[in-house]
C-alpha cells in the first residue's frame, strides 16, 4: 500500500541524526516491545509480511509521529486483536476476560527463543517455474498501486533497470501478507539514478531494489 512507510525520495524530514555510541535499547519498554513482538510472532498466527502490513496500515499521521518501537507495539496490538488472540477490551483493561485461543504453534520457551534466533526462518523456497529474467536483462518495474502489502517502492514503479542478481525463489510478500504461500523468483534490479529521479539526479548513483518476479515486466532488448 502507498502508506507512510514508503519513504524513498520523500523530502522535508530534515537531517539524519546519528547518535554516538547508541545503545541497543533506550528504555526497558523497548526491550519488552521487541521481545513480545518476536515471541508473539512465534505463535505462527501471522507472517512477517502480515506484521509489516499491520505497521504500514497505521494512519500516516500516527506512523510519522511514532518511534519505531511504538509502531511495532501498535501493530502487535492490532495483530493480536485481528487474529482474535486478544479482545480490544482485554487490551484496554490489561485483564484477561476469556480463555486463550488455540494457536498454530506452542508458546515459545527460553530454549525455543534461543533456537529461533540462532536458526531464523529462511524464506527461500523451491521454485515453481523457471526464472523469467536473466542476469543482464533489462526489465521494467510495473506501475501498480495495490491496497494490500507490497514491497515494490513507489519510486521504482514504471522505471527501467537491469537484473544484477538472482536470489532463487522466495516467499512472495504480497501473497504472504494475505496468508498465502507463493514462492516467486527474487532479483536484484539496479536503476541509474537518472532513471529514478530524472533531471539533477546524482550522476554517480545507482540504486537497486530487491524485486520479486511479479513486480517486473520484460522490455524489448534494444539499447
Amino acid at each position: 500500500m502507498n502508506g507512510a512507510q514508503d519513504l524513498g525520495g520523500a523530502m522535508g524530514f530534515g537531517p539524519v541524526r546519528p547518535e554516538k555510541a547508541e545503545p541497543a535499547f533506550h528504555a526497558r519498554w523497548e526491550e519488552r516491545a521487541l521481545a513480545l513482538t518476536l515471541a508473539a510472532g512465534a505463535l505462527g498466527e501471522w507472517s512477517i509480511d502480515e506484521g509489516r502490513y499491520a505497521r504500514e496500515s497505521l494512519h500516516p499521521a500516527l506512523y510519522l509521529n511514532a518511534s519505531y518501537y511504538e509502531i511495532w507495539l501498535r501493530a502487535l496490538e492490532k495483530l493480536l486483536r485481528d487474529k482474535k488472540l486478544l479482545e480490544g477490551k482485554e487490551l484496554e483493561t490489561g485483564r484477561a476476560s476469556r480463555p486463550a485461543a488455540k494457536t498454530r504453534r506452542p508458546k515459545l520457551t527460553a530454549d525455543g527463543a534461543r533456537r529461533l534466533m540462532a536458526k531464523g526462518t529462511p524464506y527461500r523456497r523451491e521454485p515453481c517455474a523457471p526464472a523469467r529474467f536473466a542476469v543482464g536483462g533489462r526489465v521494467r518495474a510495473k506501475v501498480m498501486n495495490p491496497h494490500g502489502h507490497t514491497r515494490l517502492p513507489r519510486y521504482a514503479r514504471g522505471k527501467v533497470g537491469v537484473v544484477e542478481r538472482i536470489h532463487g525463489a522466495h516467499v512472495f510478500p504480497d501473497a504472504s501478507a494475505r496468508g498465502q504461500s507463493e514462492p516467486v523468483w527474487l532479483y536484484t534490479v539496479a536503476f541509474p539514478a537518472r532513471e529514478l529521479w530524472g533531471e539533477g539526479a546524482d550522476p554517480t548513483l545507482t540504486v537497486s531494489i530487491e524485486a520479486f518476479e511479479p513486480y517486473l515486466e520484460p522490455l524489448p532488448s534494444k539499447g
Binding site: 512507510q5 519513504l7 524530514f13 530534515g14 539524519v16 541524526r17 546519528p18 547518535e19 541497543a24 535499547f25 533506550h26 528504555a27 519498554w29 526491550e31 519488552r32 516491545a33 521487541l34 521481545a35 513480545l36 518476536l38 508473539a40 509489516r52 505497521r55 500516527l62 509521529n65 511514532a66 518511534s67 519505531y68 518501537y69 511504538e70 501498535r74 502487535l76 493480536l80 487490551l91 490489561g94 485483564r95 484477561a96 480463555p99 486463550a100 508458546k107 520457551t109 527463543a113 529461533l116 534466533m117 536458526k119 531464523g120 526462518t121 524464506y123 517502492p153 519510486y155 536470489h167 522466495h170 539496479a190 539526479a201 548513483l205 545507482t206 540504486v207 537497486s208 530487491e210 520479486f212
Partner: protein
Amino acid sequence: MASCPCPTEHGRPAIDGYDPVARVKALEQLLVEKGYVDPLALDVIVETYAHEVGPMNGAKVVAKAWTDADYRGRLLANGTEAAAELGFGGRGGEHIVVVENTPRLHNLIVCTLCSCYPWPLLGLPPVWYKSPPYRSRAVIEPRAVLRDFGVTLPETTAIRVWDSTAETRYLVLPLRPEGSEGLSEERLASLVTREAMIGTGLALVPARAAA
C-alpha cells in the same frame, strides 16, 4: 515551539495519548496470563540483542575478509554461508549478501519500506536507520546523507545504494584503511564500525581508533 518534531525512541508522548510504557507492561501481563508468552523467553530475546549480537559480529567477518583472501571470496560469493563459518546467522539474517567497497565504488544499505537489517551481524538497527530522514534520503541524495555522518567521498567515486526490499540482508565490506598493515584480526575488527558496515561511515584508520 519545538521546531523539530522528529520522534525519538524515548521521550515525546504519542499524539493520541497512547502511552507505550504503560501499554507494553499491560500487554506483557496479559499475554503471560493467557499463556501466549513465557517471560523467560522474553528475557532470552532481550539478553541476546542487548549483549550477544551486535556490530562486533560483523566486524569479525570484515576483519577476516581483510586478512584471508579465500574467505573474502567465499563471503562475497555466499554471505550466509561465510558468516555461518564464524558462527553467525539466524533471525533477520537468513539470506546475507555482502557487497564490497572499492576505491571507485561505495556501497550504502537502506530499507526504505521498514527496517530490514542484518541482525546476526549488526544487531538491532540504530534509531536513525529506521527513521524517515535516512529512509527517505538515502536513495535520492546519499552524498548529502553521508555529509550528515561527516563523510565526504570523492566525486569520482560511484555510489551504489541497496534498498533492502526483501529478506535478503546486506552488509558492506568496507575498504581496509591505510596504516592497518600487519595488524591482528582482533585489532582490525576494532577499526570496523557499525556505520562502516552500513556504508554511512568508513573503517577507522588505526591512529584514530587508538585515540
